[in-house]
Each structure stands twice: as structure tokens, then as C-alpha cells.
Amino acid sequence: MADRVALSTDDDLDPAPAARPSAADPATGTVPDPDVTEPDVREALRSWIAERNPELPPGEPADDTRLIELRYLTSLQVADLLLFVEELRQEPIDPASLRPGVFRSIDAIHAAFFS
């Protein structure tokens, strides 16, 4: 189950940490939020990573920090991050569609799932 991290601005994401919430899933009641901006997404991802790596200095990881190579993101966390990205974008992601490099950095995550 994904841990939730609040966006840095007001948001109305479904607070229920349901498994694989989907905009198309009436059980979650979620709808895409047009007010969630690119900075919101980047900050939410940054907070999610920082919560799991308390040794990181404030403001880290940077958008281009290599998350996997530097072990800020491990195999035990990657499934949870996938769920978190699904919550953020309010759409499910087929794990089979994941391509190499999509979780390399916050830049890469944004480019793969929010562009």
C-alpha cells in the first residue's frame, strides 16, 4: 500500500490510500485535478523520496538526482512509488508498460507520467 504525501499546495486527491486508484474506478471516486501543476508534482515526488531518506538535506533530491543509482529508491520501494505516481496522476499504470529509465530521476518520472 502506498504511503501518502500531501501535495505542497491545496489538493483534493482522494485521501483514501486505495490500491491502484483509478480515475475510471468508481470505487475511488477520484477525478483528475487540473489544478495540480508541474511544480506540485515535482514537490510531491521530492517529499515522497525525502521521507524515505531522512539523511537527505532539505530540498533534495534535486530534479536530476539519480534516484536508483544513489539508492534513494530501492526495489522494495519502487512498487509503492508506482502506486504514488498513479495517485498523483489519477490514472492507473500498467506495470508491463514500464520502460527502462522511467524512475531514474524526478525529471524522468515527470517526463514519463505527467507530460
Binding site: 536508483i68 543509482e69 544513489l70 539508492r71 530501492t74 526495489s75 522494495l76 519502487v78 512498487a79 508506482l82 506495470p95 508491463a96 514500464l98 520502460r99 527502462p100 529509465g101 522511467v102 524512475f103 531514474r104
Partner: protein, 279 residues
């Protein structure tokens, strides 16, 4: 099914090699050892049994239960042994008819390099270290093919323990060295991304990680048979076995050679009776 002088295929998924084929096998391993010499990698010879607790540290049994082969023995209780000998120990279909087994504490080596992480458990390094080892490895499969997919087979591995940069440099150098080797002998191969054969992969976070961060490359002969692989483990083994480099969990990487598969590639490409390229 390949048929070559000096190759005898056994119905339990294993092969017997003799004569020139055995010479080819040893020649290949000698060549792989010469690659290891670049890093002055110390050779190690480990037993074929590995304590199950070693693989439990990396959750191997949940990831690859279908591959496991265990060494088992009878419960040494005299009554149990008496009962075993009083019956028919092996039935007409070749099945052992055990009475009671002793507890199982070991597993037959599924990959040669695991011994090295256990061997260096708790060590702290201040420079990159390189090791090599060859072992007979065991992987239970649903079918077997002579030299290509066997229940037991020989694997040579070269392992680097160092920093992220050192393990990456090791993989790059090893890949370049193998490229030179296969180019010199004219073997048709290519490198390809690969993942490990996880049990129920969609439920395994390590499989998901391999999808988004490919750390395994296989050298495919004839676009189908993996004869070698490079593997970047990040700090997976460093953390599991508390091996450190400058205070941090060490990064590890390895290159593995499936020796019988190289023999298969030679037989398919150059013929079953030679002459084979000099190694």
C-alpha cells in the same frame, strides 16, 4: 538434440563430457580465468552446498522457488533407517522411497557468486576487490536440453566489490573484453537486456525494478542462447551481507559464464568435431 563425440546425455538433465569436448570445456574456463587476471581476481573454490540461511538473507527462496534443489538425507534414527532398508529403497520407476528425511539446512548452489558474498560477510574494504569462482550450479527446470539447459552445469563468475563507479567500470571493461573474445573467434552474439526468472514476476518488486532499471545484460548466441551475463547488483548484496566500502554498503557486480552453453555455441557454430577456434 545435439549429438557430439564425447557428449553423453543423461535423462535427469545432466551431461557427461569426455575427450576433446572436455578439453574444450577446460580451455574455455582457462580463457575466462585469463579475463579475470586483468583485475588480479583471486580464485576461490567453494563446495556445492550452500547454507539455506545464506539465500534466505536475499529472499532467494521466495523469488526463485521453482529453481531450488536441496541435498537431503535420511533421518539418521535407527528405526527410520531400518524401515528404509526393510522396504524397497528405489521403486521400479526409479523413485526413491524415503521413510523420513532429516531436516534440510542446505541448498545446492544455484549461482556461483553467492558463496563470495557470504564468504566476505562483515568485511570492510577500502579499495575495489575482485574475485572469481567456478562452481557446479543446480537449477530445477521444467525441461532440459543437452548443454543448453541442464539441471546441473558449470558456471564461472568474476565479481567486483567496490563503489558505484568501480562496479560500473568493471561491467564496462568486462563487456569490452568479452566483445573482443567473441570477435576474435567469430561467434555470432549480441548483448540484450534481460531479467531474472522470478516466480510470479508481477508480484515481485525486484522484477519491477529490473524493468525500470535494467541491471542484467545477456550475451545471446544465435539470438536465443544466453552464454554469459553481466549483472549490476547496486548495494543489494552489500546490505544483505554487511560488506562495506568506506563505511557504506559495498556495491557489487559480476560477469557469469555458462560453460556448457559456450560449448553448445561452439558445436552449433563450428561443428561437433572441430577444429574449434584456439582460445
Amino acid at each position: 538434440m545435439i549429438d557430439a563425440p564425447g557428449l553423453r546425455w543423461l535423462p535427469n538433465g545432466q551431461s557427461v563430457l569426455s575427450g576433446p569436448l572436455l578439453g574444450l570445456t577446460e580451455g574455455l574456463d582457462h580463457r575466462f580465468l585469463s579475463l579475470a587476471a586483468r583485475w588480479d581476481a583471486a580464485d576461490h573454490r567453494f563446495p556445492t552446498f550452500l547454507a539455506a540461511t545464506v539465500l534466505e538473507r536475499i529472499d532467494w527462496f521466495r523469488s526463485f522457488p521453482q529453481l531450488a534443489t536441496f541435498p537431503v538425507s535420511l533421518d539418521p534414527d535407527e528405526a527410520n533407517l531400518t524401515s528404509f532398508t526393510a522396504g524397497q529403497p528405489v521403486d521400479g520407476e526409479g523413485r526413491v522411497r524415503p521413510t523420513s528425511f532429516a531436516p534440510i539446512h542446505d541448498v545446492l548452489t544455484p549461482a556461483a557468486c553467492y558463496h563470495l558474498y557470504d564468504h566476505h560477510q562483515g568485511r570492510a574494504f577500502d579499495r575495489p576487490r575482485y574475485f572469481t569462482t567456478r562452481n557446479t550450479c543446480f537449477r530445477r527446470e521444467d525441461h532440459y536440453v543437452p548443454l543448453e539447459r541442464q539441471w546441473s552445469f558449470a558456471m564461472r563468475e568474476i565479481v567486483c566489490m567496490g563503489t558505484a563507479g568501480e562496479t560500473r567500470a568493471f561491467i564496462d571493461q568486462a563487456t569490452a573484453d568479452v566483445d573482443r573474445l567473441v570477435a576474435a573467434i567469430g561467434l555470432p552474439v549480441r548483448w540484450a537486456h534481460a531479467s531474472d526468472p522470478f516466480f510470479r514476476p508481477s508480484e515481485n518488486p525486484q522484477y519491477l525494478m529490473q524493468q525500470v532499471d535494467p541491471t542484467k545484460e545477456e550475451l545471446l548466441f544465435d539470438d536465443r542462447l544466453a552464454i554469459a551475463s553481466t549483472n549490476l547488483h547496486h548495494d543489494h548484496f552489500g546490505r544483505a551481507f554487511d560488506i562495506r566500502r568506506d563505511g557504506e554498503p559495498v556495491r557489487t557486480a559480476c560477469i557469469a559464464f555458462g560453460i556448457e552453453r559456450w560449448v553448445a555455441a561452439f558445436l552449433h557454430h563450428y561443428g561437433t568435431e572441430g577444429p574449434w577456434p584456439a582460445l
